[in-house]
């Protein structure tokens, strides 16, 4: 297609995608507690507010803790499963792969409601750790897909060579498989981490009345009093996501990772 048309099209799409973020970034530097745009005055105090105001700081802390733990648990579930599927011929075990992808494919409100009824039935409703488990299950798809892709890219003759030289299963995993699969573990963890950080509905339905994560805090602020802190948190979130995905792209093969992700998702 002609280059002028292409440039114009990309400019318009870029504008559409960035416009809300530009306005939010503008709102976040207002001097007074108003959501005016263009901003009136200039102040970075709303960024300080995230860390200084105990309510926002607690929400930030809750979100980061939840994201770190749930992403780790998701990887802990995905790694043995994808290793087993790569190492063994057991077609029926694919059912667990399917179970891992299902929560992500279905509308999120369904997983959220399932978790809510489950935790309420077993009597743990509202406990902070239930959100960690719920998020880990909800996002297990991401490490599962990156790891499955990672395992298929391992040259089996390497493993075979190690085995011929007398290495046992444990040694092979530690010295050959793990180093090769590490980048995929990291990117799977990164995807799960960023999405967990932003997740609202599952967190809200499991621990919404006891713990305030940042998305829940923003939602509550939307209903009970606007403050530019919402805007500064948004900017912080977008920047965090961009930095993390930028790092994944820098140290991994992002187009390849995405090429496989979407075809697996089908």
């Amino acid at each position: 297609m002609t280059s002028i048309f292409r440039k114009a099209y990309f400019f318009l799409i870029g504008l559409f995608l960035s416009l809300p973020l530009i306005v939010v970034a503008g709102v976040s530097v207002n001097q007074k507690q108003t959501l005016a745009f263009p901003p009136q005055g200039f102040s970075l105090s709303w960024y300080g507010e995230i860390f200084l105001n105990p309510e926002w700081r607690n929400a930030l802390f809750a979100s980061v803790t939840l994201a770190m733990l749930s992403a780790a648990l998701a990887v802990a579930i995905a790694l043995p499963l994808s290793w087993f599927l790569w190492r063994r011929i057991a077609p029926w075990a694919n059912i667990f792969q399917l179970l891992g992808v299902a929560p992500f494919t279905l509308p999120p409100v369904i997983t959220a409601l399932g978790m809510l009824t489950f935790w309420a039935t077993v009597g743990f409703y509202g406990q902070p750790w239930t959100a960690v488990v719920s998020h880990a299950i909800f996002f297990v798809t991401l490490p599962l897909v990156t790891l499955s892709l990672g395992f298929t890219s391992i040259d089996r003759s390497l493993v075979e060579a190690a085995s011929t030289m007398g290495a046992d299963e444990r040694t092979i995993f530690r010295t050959v498989v793990l180093p090769l699969i590490l980048p995929y573990i990291v990117s799977g963890y990164a995807f799960a981490f960023v999405l967990s950080l932003n997740e609202y509905i599952v967190a809200y339905m499991t621990v919404g009345f006891t713990v305030e994560t940042l998305p829940i805090k923003i939602f509550n602020a939307l209903r009970y009093g606007y403050t530019p802190t919402m805007a500064s948190v948004t900017v912080l979130f977008v920047t965090t996501a961009a930095v993390i995905f930028g790092l994944v792209a820098r140290f991994g093969d992002l187009p390849k990772l995405l090429g496989a992700m979407s075809s697996d998702g089908k």
Binding site: F10, L19, L35, P80, P107, V109, L113, F118, A241
Partner: protein, 284 residues
């Protein structure tokens, strides 16, 4: 080391933890939800085990029919808008330098991972009277005075297209990367304009991909639970919003669960359609 079937019981050990986690925390909750959908609702937000179809019978009301119809229509419009916008975009993106591609992909992923709360907040700010886009139009002298553009159907639609657009690009991306570049080259050599080559060669070659993408974006849009609430009026609420509302604010878990089961059935039916569309694509 070749792949081999598990020999001893010990070989199954790695499967133990993932299988237990997925069964206990996904299969069981899902089953619980289905069970609750048949329970009897009690006054005051409680429910007792029973086996009644009352919760499903409520689907037959005019109100529910309206919500369902609106949800489906909204998701279809979002899916069509996204694919129409994303197809040429992704096509051109796959033909760009790798570095440029990575930058766009990082940006798209960042937006895709954004919370619905944040997207809703950003667009409600952009559409507001005090900070909104209308202020720019006033400054340019196009409009007389700033006004709020939300809540409205247009605001809901814009927000949802914004949310689903990066997803659409990422779903289309692998298929378009693999598209044989010689196809368009041949068309160009034979004298077709770039635009004509796109519509007569690329689009038909991707017919099945486009169908599958439409369905996937449709399912994605069906899952939107906050944007209709934040940017629209109550008549713009979708099934997902209604489920949340019934579960949290009306404390009617059995009815919420019944609607969720229904939504699962719709989704699974569509996934099956996608798979069939994909099979056809392989055969062709």
């Amino acid at each position: 080391m070749r792949r081999e079937p598990p020999q001893t019981l010990g070989d199954y050990a790695p499967l133990l933890f993932p299988a237990a986690m997925l069964t206990i925390f996904f299969v069981v909750p899902f089953g619980t939800m289905i069970a609750v959908s048949f329970f009897q609702r009690q006054q005051g937000g409680f429910y007792t085990p029973a086996f009644v179809f009352d919760n499903y019978a409520r689907f037959l009301s005019v109100f529910f029919g309206g919500v369902l119809g609106f949800s489906l229509m909204l998701a279809i419009i979002v899916a069509i808008c996204c694919v129409v916008l994303a197809l040429p975009f992704t096509y051109m993106l796959t033909r760009m330098a790798r570095k440029v591609q990575v930058v766009w992909l990082v940006a798209l992923l960042s937006i895709l991972s954004l919370s619905e709360v944040i997207i809703g907040f950003a667009w409600s700010t952009l559409f507001s009277r005090t900070a909104g886009i209308t202020n720019i139009l006033v400054a340019l002298g196009i409009m007389a005075e700033a006004k709020a553009l939300t809540p409205s159907f247009g605001a809901v639609l814009t927000g949802m297209v914004y949310q689903a657009f990066p997803y659409t690009v990422l779903v289309l991306f692998p298929a378009l990367v693999r598209l044989d570049p010689t196809l368009t080259e041949a068309a160009r050599t034979l004298g077709a304009s770039p635009l004509k080559a796109f519509f007569t060669v690329v689009v038909p070659a991707l017919r099945n991909t486009i169908t599958a993408t439409l369905i996937m974006v449709f399912i994605f849009a069906l899952g939107s639970y906050l944007l209709p609430q934040l940017l629209g009026r109550p008549q713009h609420w979708t099934l997902s919003v209604l489920i949340t509302d019934q579960a949290i604010y009306q404390s009617n878990m059995p009815f919420a669960a019944a609607m969720a089961v229904f939504l699962v059935l719709v989704t699974l039916g569509l996934v099956a359609l996608t798979v069939i569309a994909g099979r056809k694509g392989e055969a062709a």
